[in-house]
């Protein structure tokens, strides 16, 4: 949970990279992801990761990306061990392990630099149904609110003598009941209130809802997007062949 929130939840930042059109940021993420997939040697993966780190540094999110990397390491060690047990091949096993790290950080780069607002825009761009996009928006919007709820519930129950970290695993799991039930009840009540407020503000009234903010790619976005594609093609070429079977 913690590494997820560290590596995938947006926190405000204002670097040049942050200000890029979200579609361009998504493109960069997808291309680095793809490059990691077609890489056939560890040093190639190393290049991809180095590239991501340079971009992360430029976007002032290097620490967060580095933390994501460190936390991914456990999982990637697991991948290495499992692979090695089956294939007995040191090189391919480490390639898989490193590739996993590269894939995670390339995805993480997009999520930590893209506001929920921009995410919504990207979702709309893919023509996802409005209800799906809105459900996503509300879910993200109310994460901090529900976290606050959870903290207040924990305070209230601790004040009634509940000791969360006491006893064996079974007991601890049971200790969560007084926290979870109010949390769910509150969420249900909240969703009822949200539904009323949505109705009262004409949600779903028009077949073609409009948008206050207009999104147009700036020149810098186009240049960066083009550069990203060129870099990707060069990388792909230098990894020899796009047509070669993925991995070994």
């Amino acid at each position: 949970m913690m590494w997820l929130s560290g590596g995938f939840i947006f926190r405000s930042g204002n670097s040049r990279f942050h200000r890029l059109d979200p579609r361009v940021k998504l493109l960069i993420s997808i291309l680095t992801f793809a490059t990691a997939l077609i890489a056939r040697y560890i040093y190639e993966i190393g290049l991809v990761v180095a590239f991501i780190l340079v971009v992360a540094a430029a976007a002032t999110v290097l620490t967060r990306i580095a933390r994501t990397m460190a936390l991914t390491a456990t999982f990637s060690a697991f991948i290495f061990v499992v692979n090695f047990l089956f294939t007995r091949n040191l090189e391919s096993s480490s390639l898989y392990a490193f590739r996993f790290v590269a894939i995670v950080v390339s995805t993480s780069l997009f999520f930590v630099t893209t506001t929920p607002d921009e995410l919504e825009r990207v979702m709309k761009m893919f023509r996802l149904p409005r209800d799906v996009v809105f459900a996503f928006v509300t879910a993200v919007r109310f994460v901090p609110v529900m976290m606050l709820d959870a903290l207040q519930i924990m305070d209230a129950q601790k004040s009634r003598g509940l000791e969360l970290d006491k006893g064996n695993i079974l007991r601890r799991a049971r200790n969560m009941i007084p926290i979870l039930i109010p949390l769910v009840v509150n969420a249900v009540v909240r969703s009822g209130e949200l539904a009323e407020a949505m109705e009262s503000r004409a949600y779903g009234a028009s077949e073609r809802p409009t948008s206050l903010v207009e999104y147009r790619a700036k020149r810098v976005d186009k240049v960066v997007a083009l550069a990203a594609v060129v870099v990707f093609l060069l990388a792909a070429y230098s990894f020899y062949s796009l047509l070669a079977p993925i991995a070994l």
Binding site: E193, E199, A202, P209, T210, V213
Partner: protein, 279 residues
């Protein structure tokens, strides 16, 4: 008349009693009406019958008629009603949907498909009316309770409703912030000429700005008059309405032969009258 309610009855499915019982009310344009009564007296149900959540979202036994701006609520769509009646719910948190203040204010207009330029104009207008220009780009979790309240109200105002319902708007605010909010409502009435229907327990705050006070009990209308008629009268006490302490004292001053206490004054005014009396 902006709001006309004729003999409204509403009973929720499976409920033993009617939540609203033979309720009638006429509200002329630009009035500020306070709706008071004990918890569970049917205020919330009545409000929902005015903005159309009843019967469009909640079904039940419905009879009688509610008209806003001349057209029947029952026969109108939520799309039309959303533009006619604004509803500020008790908890502002649960009516702010978007990640930035500005986009949330536009939420209703986006839903209606209002063209971008027109939308921009109306959003800016609402921001101006509430003096929240500095908050336009903030995220909801960066706002204080008072600010959230204003943002939620801006979202309501952007729809340019004729009638605005406020459901216990100050219950989560501290007293000074609540007073600021009440002043804001008084100014809005002047600036946009909207009619306000306010449910509130803290009557002391509203005495100054309200034109009229309606008291409900068990789904019925039991008192309807100017705030002074209602609060200086002897009946309101019995309906779970909190009579401001000052009103109680004023009543006594009046009994004591203090002339001129036929309407409600605030404390300073009472003192001034008392002063004149003594000379």
């Amino acid at each position: 008349m902006i709001l006309e309610i004729d003999g409204l009855n509403f009973r929720y499915p499976d409920a033993p009693k009617k939540a609203v019982d033979s309720f009638s009310l006429q509200v002329p344009e630009s009035e500020i009406v306070v709706l008071a009564g004990a918890s569970g007296c049917g205020k919330s149900t009545l409000l929902r019958a005015i903005n159309g959540l009843i019967p469009h979202m909640y079904a039940g036994d419905y009879s009688g008629d509610v008209r806003v701006g001349g057209s029947s609520v029952k026969a109108s769509s939520m799309r039309e009603l959303a533009q006619r009646v604004g509803f500020l719910f008790q908890n502002p948190e649960n009516q702010i949907f978007m990640f930035t203040v500005e986009r949330d204010i536009a939420f209703g207009l986006e839903n209606l498909g209002v063209p971008r330029q027109e939308m921009r104009r109306r959003v800016d207008e609402a921001i101006g009316l509430l003096g929240i220009g500095s908050l336009a780009q903030r995220a909801p979790y960066e706002l204080s309770d008072g600010q959230k309240q204003r943002v939620a109200l801006a979202g309501v105002l952007a729809m340019r409703p004729k009638l605005i319902i406020l459901d216990e708007p100050t219950s989560l605010l501290d007293p000074k912030t609540a007073l600021d909010f009440v002043d804001l409502v008084a100014n809005l009435r002047k600036d946009v000429g909207a009619t306000f229907l306010i449910v509130e327990h803290r009557l002391d705050l509203l005495v100054k700005v309200a034109d009229r006070m309606v008291v409900m009990s068990s789904g019925r209308k039991v008192l309807d008059g100017s705030p002074s008629e209602v609060l200086m009268g002897d009946e309101a006490d019995g309906f779970g309405v909190s009579i401001p302490a000052v009103s109680r004292v004023q009543k006594l001053l009046a009994k004591d032969g203090l002339a001129g206490v036929d309407r409600l004054y605030d404390a300073e005014e009472v003192a001034a009258i008392r002063q004149r009396e003594r000379r």
